[in-house]
């Protein structure tokens, strides 16, 4: 009787000592389970906003190259925009390791599609649908891929831009944004986006939004890439940085009107 009680205590102690994370369930060996397995998760290395707009010749995507580790801006050269096959571009915010895995799934999908060698190729609509199924199924198993994805592409003259996130919410639009971009960039898009923008107009609009994000999003870094997809194919720009503006008179002595304030 006493031996059994001691054994239970040892099991409890062992369970408590398992390395765990602040989440609703934790993985542990089957032999120590007292309740059903549940996963959920916890993001570690994360990317911030991705922006996307349709323009005259196709779709433009923009993101920075930051990989944050909590509040630390740990990695500053992370590629968050990737070409998928000939017709699509994918951008991601959220956990970078999950994005890297998604790109591997998609590369495999495109490979098998090419191996049919039948002249057909997966377009952005199909890739978006695949990703939606992937993300939603993982969500149903309480083991999500912790990302918000932006998918843009052109096929047979048809422009496509959509988004799908970790809980499976998905839609198409003329302009999309993830993360902080939802709050800061989309209002600017609603005001300034119009049908058939030129490439230059599109880039200027995206850069305007990226600048706002640089000022107001703590996890933004000043190293951006803009990606373009047209009927001809996909191009991702070299990383570059944009100028920020600090020479406003009001910034030089902000507390003049109210000493001690900020």
């Amino acid at each position: 009787m006493l031996a059994a009680a001691q054994k239970d205590e040892k099991k409890d102690q062992a369970l408590k000592n398992l390395v765990g994370h602040p989440q609703t369930g934790r993985d542990c060996p089957f032999t120590l389970l007292n309740s059903p397995i549940s996963h959920t998760q916890y993001p570690y290395v994360t990317g911030t906003s991705v922006l996307g707009i349709k323009y005259k010749d196709g779709v433009l995507l923009a993101s920075d190259m930051g990989g944050s580790y909590g509040s630390t801006l740990r990695y500053k050269s992370v590629q968050r925009l990737k070409p998928i096959g000939k017709h699509t571009l994918l951008g991601a915010g959220g956990e970078i390791s999950d994005f890297q895995e998604i790109v591997r799934y998609l590369d495999e999908l495109i490979l098998y599609d090419n191996m049919w060698d039948d002249g057909n190729s997966l377009g952005p609509k199909e890739v978006h649908n695949y990703l939606n199924r992937l993300m939603y199924n993982r969500r149903n198993k309480f083991n999500p891929l912790w990302n918000t994805l932006v998918l843009g592409g052109v096929k047979n003259g048809q422009k496509y831009l959509g988004t799908v996130n970790m809980i499976g919410v998905h839609y198409e639009e003329n302009h999309v944004a993830t993360g902080f971009g939802n709050h800061l960039a989309r209002p600017i898009f609603r005001d300034e986006w119009h049908e058939d923008m030129t490439f230059e107009e599109g880039v200027k609009l995206l850069e305007k939004c990226m600048l706002v994000l640089l000022y107001r999003d703590r996890s933004a870094v000043n190293k951006l890439q803009i990606a373009k997809i047209t009927e001809e194919g996909a191009t991702i720009s070299e990383p570059y940085a944009i100028k920020t503006h600090w020479e406003l008179e009001a910034f030089k002595n902000p507390a003049t009107g109210a000493v001690g304030s900020w």
Partner: protein
């Protein structure tokens, strides 16, 4: 209550670093393994060999990092038998990534893979918590790395020589040890290039002194250097 440290898992608080230079890589680490507040091992070797030409810097849970490195060494060995030539650093890093990513809910270990192969020369891959894999010109990890971001932002330069790279690694780990309670002991380095592998050992008393640190001496009764005056009866 107070006895919690006896049951706390072995964690290598740690400072680990890997740096590329023109010709190869230099890996560096401290040597402290702690169980809660107690230093379980003051001379650990956190730079583990995976193959002749690829090494791994381990941080976080000692158990998790050891088991991951053991699995990868086992898989790599079989891969090499089949391949018929030395493994590449990229393949090794991807094996590390697979284990870290697919077991992300159970594992708590941040790793740096460094080595030399005939295709890419020297390369460094960081595999932090979660299983992201990133090829980098240099990588830092462990609790001590927090104190090195600013230092390396300033001190890191492209195209260093082997000696410059090793000096930078030793200086970095030494600075981290000065401020991180979870890092300490000796600085170990491993240099990997086309000629082979060299292990170096820098004991605590051979490291530079930083702010508020005093020169070491045998006793109050003896001199350390010309600045200190020994006490006399």
């Amino acid at each position: 209550m107070d006895m919690d440290w006896m049951n706390a898992p072995h964690s290598m608080g740690t400072t680990i670093i890997g740096v590329t230079y023109n010709g190869g890589v230099v890996l560096g680490a401290d040597s402290r393994t702690s169980t809660g507040m107690y230093v379980a091992n003051r001379a650990s070797d956190k730079i583990t060999q995976l193959t002749d030409n690829v090494y791994l810097c381990r941080s976080g849970s000692a158990a998790d990092s050891q088991v991951v490195s053991d699995y990868v060494r086992y898989f790599l060995h079989q891969h090499i038998i089949q391949l018929g030539q030395p493994a590449t650093v990229k393949v090794t890093a991807n094996l590390i990534r697979l284990l870290s990513y697919n077991n992300k809910n159970t594992l708590e270990t941040g790793l740096i893979v460094g080595g030399w192969d005939k295709y890419e020369g020297g390369s460094i891959y960081g595999v932090p918590l979660g299983g992201t894999m990133l090829q980098l010109p240099f990588a830092i990890g462990g609790s001590g790395s927090s104190y090195l971001y600013g230092f390396l932002d300033q001190a890191w330069k492209e195209g260093m020589s082997k000696d410059e790279a090793e000096a930078l690694v030793v200086k970095s780990v030494s600075l981290a040890i000065a401020r991180d309670g979870a890092s300490g002991g000796v600085v170990r380095t491993v240099v990997i290039n086309s000629e082979g592998v060299t292990r170096n050992f820098y004991p605590g008393d051979k490291l530079p002194l930083w702010h508020e640190e005093l020169p070491l001496r045998n006793s109050l009764l003896e001199e350390a250097s010309s600045e200190a005056e020994p006490m006399h009866p």
